[in-house]
């Protein structure tokens, strides 16, 4: 058997065709693939009857291929992290869930504070050892998990010298709900509901990735209109979140006008999604095999009219940011992440693009309607807050163009939903990538011999990017943390699942 299996985005393969390499070869192969420019999209363990199997998904952006390979894994595994920092979080996750000992992992501690498989001991989130800097002039600041704003819980621990941050350690896990575990034991028609709430602000993104997997396993083909409606919804989601974040960035530096207007405009964009499916976050819009709602000529006109108003408002509100020197001076040089660090840590989405790393799943692994209507790649010059804000603004403008072009392509036929009760392929693996507004969303589905989902892996972009925030804070001022945090705006629940 050759030791590689290449898949296209949103396709499936029989499990027996996924190569099994011995552990040392697996490590070597993975390292070589990453060094050749691949990215580790997922690394996860599936418990088996006799021995657990470790799967790696490596994305090759240039060839639009996803490489899948695996190895059998005992109770011990030589950690990849020392040579592949991208694997850092994945290996901590595997060690936590399955109790595998990661030999040589430099910073082994839980990420979600969940009991190990088969155990039922209560674990207090956040109760663990932390990185410490010692010295008379060094002080430690702990923030959260309860915050002053209405945001999700997470604990941030800073090692500071005066106002300067030496190190930030991020501890999450307070939002862990057990979504991945719930999927195999849920009725299949309910799973999409779980996906829509995996990360509430990325409902469309996660539901799309899930639907792609089910379609791959059931051998369904998406109608052209359904693909367009999905992409339109995904772009609306991107616009709404980017707009809200740009407003919040302005608010964090005390710049009122943009903050006030963006809050309202975000609502207008959410309402546009609401026009399509009745829910502002797009719940119920994505269905396995298609979409739940149609866009007819009348609705198309309503959407375009609304977007015209939104665009005019957005331009005047957001251009104010770059027309005001005091705001730009706050954004520039704040929260720098170098391009090398971004690649090594495996950042994705706007956070990576701001550092000049060209990753956009819509371009490299086209899905839905992106094969025909291609987005522009938005790159930042420098991985600072200004870079991340610029990338978001460019993407908002590009989304407007994309939505208009896509709505033009809508034909008169029904988008429809071809499901509803197709059988899934047995003993198979399907993998899908989608570009959510935060970046690459990776879903991997594995079925058992009866065609039921046996194991399901979700990798939210936040899972890759939280460490990027910690890097961004190095040698920065502690008072700039909220601004850096907002420029990433990562998901707590998407990470904790």
């Amino acid at each position: 058997m050759k030791n590689t299996l290449l898949l296209k985005n949103g396709s499936s393969a029989k499990l027996e065709n996924v190569p099994v390499i011995e552990a040392e070869g697996f490590r070597k192969h993975l390292t070589v693939q990453i060094q050749k420019g691949g990215r580790l999209s997922a690394l996860f363990l599936v418990p088996g009857d006799s021995q657990a199997r470790l799967f790696a998904i490596v994305s090759h952006d240039h060839t639009s291929e996803l490489e899948v390979f695996s190895c059998l894994c005992g109770r011990k595994f030589n950690a990849l992290t020392p040579i592949l920092p991208q694997a850092h979080w994945f290996e901590r996750e595997i060690a936590e869930i399955h109790g595998i000992e990661m030999v040589g992992h430099p910073w082994m501690k839980p990420i979600r504070f969940q009991p190990k498989a088969g155990q039922n001991v209560e674990i207090i989130p956040g109760a663990t050892s932390y990185f410490e800097v010692k010295g008379e002039e060094v002080h430690e600041v702990g923030v959260g998990p309860v915050h002053a704003g209405i945001i999700e819980p997470g604990h941030f621990r800073f090692q500071c010298h005066g106002e300067k941050v030496f190190h930030l350690e991020i501890e999450l896990g307070y939002q862990h709900r057990g979504i991945e575990r719930a999927i195999p034991v849920s009725q299949p028609q309910k799973v999409i509901r779980l996906m829509e709430t995996a990360a509430g602000d990325t409902s469309i993104g996660h539901a799309t990735a899930y639907a792609m997997n089910v379609e791959a396993l059931a051998g369904l083909k998406l109608s052209q209109n359904a693909a367009i409606i999905r992409s339109v919804a995904l772009e609306l989601e991107r616009m709404a979140n980017h707009t809200g974040d740009l407003g919040a960035l302005a608010g964090d530096v005390g710049f009122l006008p943009t903050a006030a207007y963006c809050g309202r405009i975000r609502g207008d964009i959410l309402n546009t999604t609401g026009l399509i499916c009745g829910n502002r976050f797009g719940r119920g819009l994505i269905r396995t095999g298609g979409v739940g709602y149609e866009i007819d000529a009348e609705l198309k006109k309503a959407i375009l009219d609304k977007l015209a108003l939104v665009e005019a408002d957005l331009r005047s509100a957001i251009n104010l940011i770059w027309d005001t020197p005091s705001v730009v001076s706050r954004f520039e040089e704040t929260g720098l992440v170098s391009r090398e660090d971004a690649i090594a840590a495996g950042l994705v989405g706007p956070a990576a693009r701001a550092c000049g790393v060209s990753i956009d799943i819509r371009l490299s692994h086209a899905f839905a309607a992106y094969g025909r209507i291609k987005p522009e790649l938005a790159l930042g010059r420098q991985g600072d807050v200004n870079g991340r804000a610029t990338v978001r603004w460019l993407e908002i403008q590009d989304s407007l163009c994309l939505i208009r072009a896509m709505l033009e392509e809508l034909s008169a036929e029904k988008a429809g939903c071809s499901m509803p009760k197709a059988e899934l392929a047995t003993d198979s693996l399907a993998v899908s990538l989608a570009e959510g507004w935060r970046g690459e969303i990776c879903h991997v589905a594995i079925t058992d011999s009866k065609g039921n989902l046996k194991s399901y892996k979700i990798v939210d972009p936040s899972f890759h990017n939280w460490f990027g925030l910690a890097l961004a804070l190095r040698n920065q001022e502690i008072s700039d943390f909220p601004l850096c945090n907002k420029s990433f705006n990562l998901s707590y629940c998407g990470h904790d699942l």
């Binding site: 600041v141 005390g254 009122l256 903050a259 909220p482």
Partner: protein, 306 residues
């Protein structure tokens, strides 16, 4: 020599002080395209807080309970020496400028040690920033006063501000303008306004003034909120007294012109807060030291002119 007149104006000052933050917020709301809270919101807030019972952290000591009272009375005490409505202050004596400034200093001292008292990392950071910035703002305030003392030959605040006239502005426009600008920066610094501090932020790590009062509730918070509003009024009074000099206004117009002036200061603060972002923390000292530099230039010009 306390006159009934000055007591009436002092009481008027105490009654009107909480209106300034309301005006600032209205201006900010206008820029944000919002209705904003009522102008009298701070009165409602203080009335509400005064009816509540307090909660204290278990790690706090007597200092925490004492501080709000000290802050309240020291600000009130400072108010006795600040002339408002272009009239004499309730109390005056030669050199009361120093007492007035350091009564405010006592209030700040207690706010800072109370912040340290709770042992919270945030409050400690806020306290250290507050102390640094107010120390930097002090020279600007006193250099400005030195020029005015030199100009009017009087050592009491009432005397200085009574001695100001349009003539002074005509003779030394540069000096007066430098002092006015430098005192405006001192006002923004001392009262925790943008670009130095952001009174609206909920982000503990960026706060200066707000973070030190995070642990206060009820009457304590009410007293501190009131004292902050009064302090803003006092600094605005000085600025109005400097810009619209007492000698330029006929006595029957004192009250309307003064009120107009002080509301104008609030509107300017509101406009500043609506149109520029807060400075990065490392740049704030440069900004405040800049105000000191302006005042020192004014002083040099003045001495050279003599």
């Amino acid at each position: 020599m306390i006159s009934i007149h000055s007591v009436v104006f002092f009481i008027l000052t105490l009654l009107l002080a909480p209106i300034l933050p309301g005006v600032i917020n209205k201006v900010k709301a206008f820029f944000g395209g919002k209705m904003g809270p009522p102008v009298l919101q701070l009165y409602y807030d203080i009335a509400k807080l005064m009816r509540k019972s307090a909660t204290y952290s278990q790690t706090s000591s007597l200092v925490t309970r004492l501080a709000p009272v000290v802050i309240f009375f020291s600000t009130l005490g400072a108010g006795l020496f600040v002339p408002s409505f272009f009239r004499e202050a309730s109390c005056r004596f030669a050199g009361d400028v120093v007492l007035m400034a350091y009564l405010l200093g006592i209030g700040r001292f207690f706010m800072v040690i109370a912040a340290m008292d709770r042992g919270s990392a945030f409050e400690g950071m806020g306290a250290s920033r507050e102390v640094l910035y107010s120390a930097l703002a002090e020279p600007a305030f006193f250099c400005g006063l030195l020029v005015l003392i030199n100009e009017t030959g009087d050592l009491s605040l009432s005397g200085i501000f009574n001695g100001l006239s349009l003539e002074l502005w005509r003779q030394n426009p540069a000096i007066m303008l430098l002092i006015a600008v430098s005192w405006m920066i001192v006002l923004l610094t001392e009262n925790a306004r943008i670009p130095v501090d952001d009174p609206n932020t909920h982000l503990e790590l960026t706060m200066i003034h707000e973070v030190m009062i995070l642990d206060y509730s009820s009457k304590d918070l009410g007293l501190i909120e009131y004292a902050s509003a009064l302090k803003l009024w006092l600094f605005s009074s000085l600025l109005v007294g400097l810009i619209i000099s007492a000698g330029a206004v006929p006595p029957y117009l004192h009250i309307p012109v003064f009120l107009f002036g002080i509301l104008a200061v609030a509107v300017v603060i509101g406009c500043v807060e609506s149109t520029i972002a807060r400075l990065r923390l490392i740049h704030i000292p440069k900004f405040i030291v800049g105000s000191g530099a302006l005042a020192i230039i004014a002083l040099i010009l003045k001495i050279a002119g003599n």
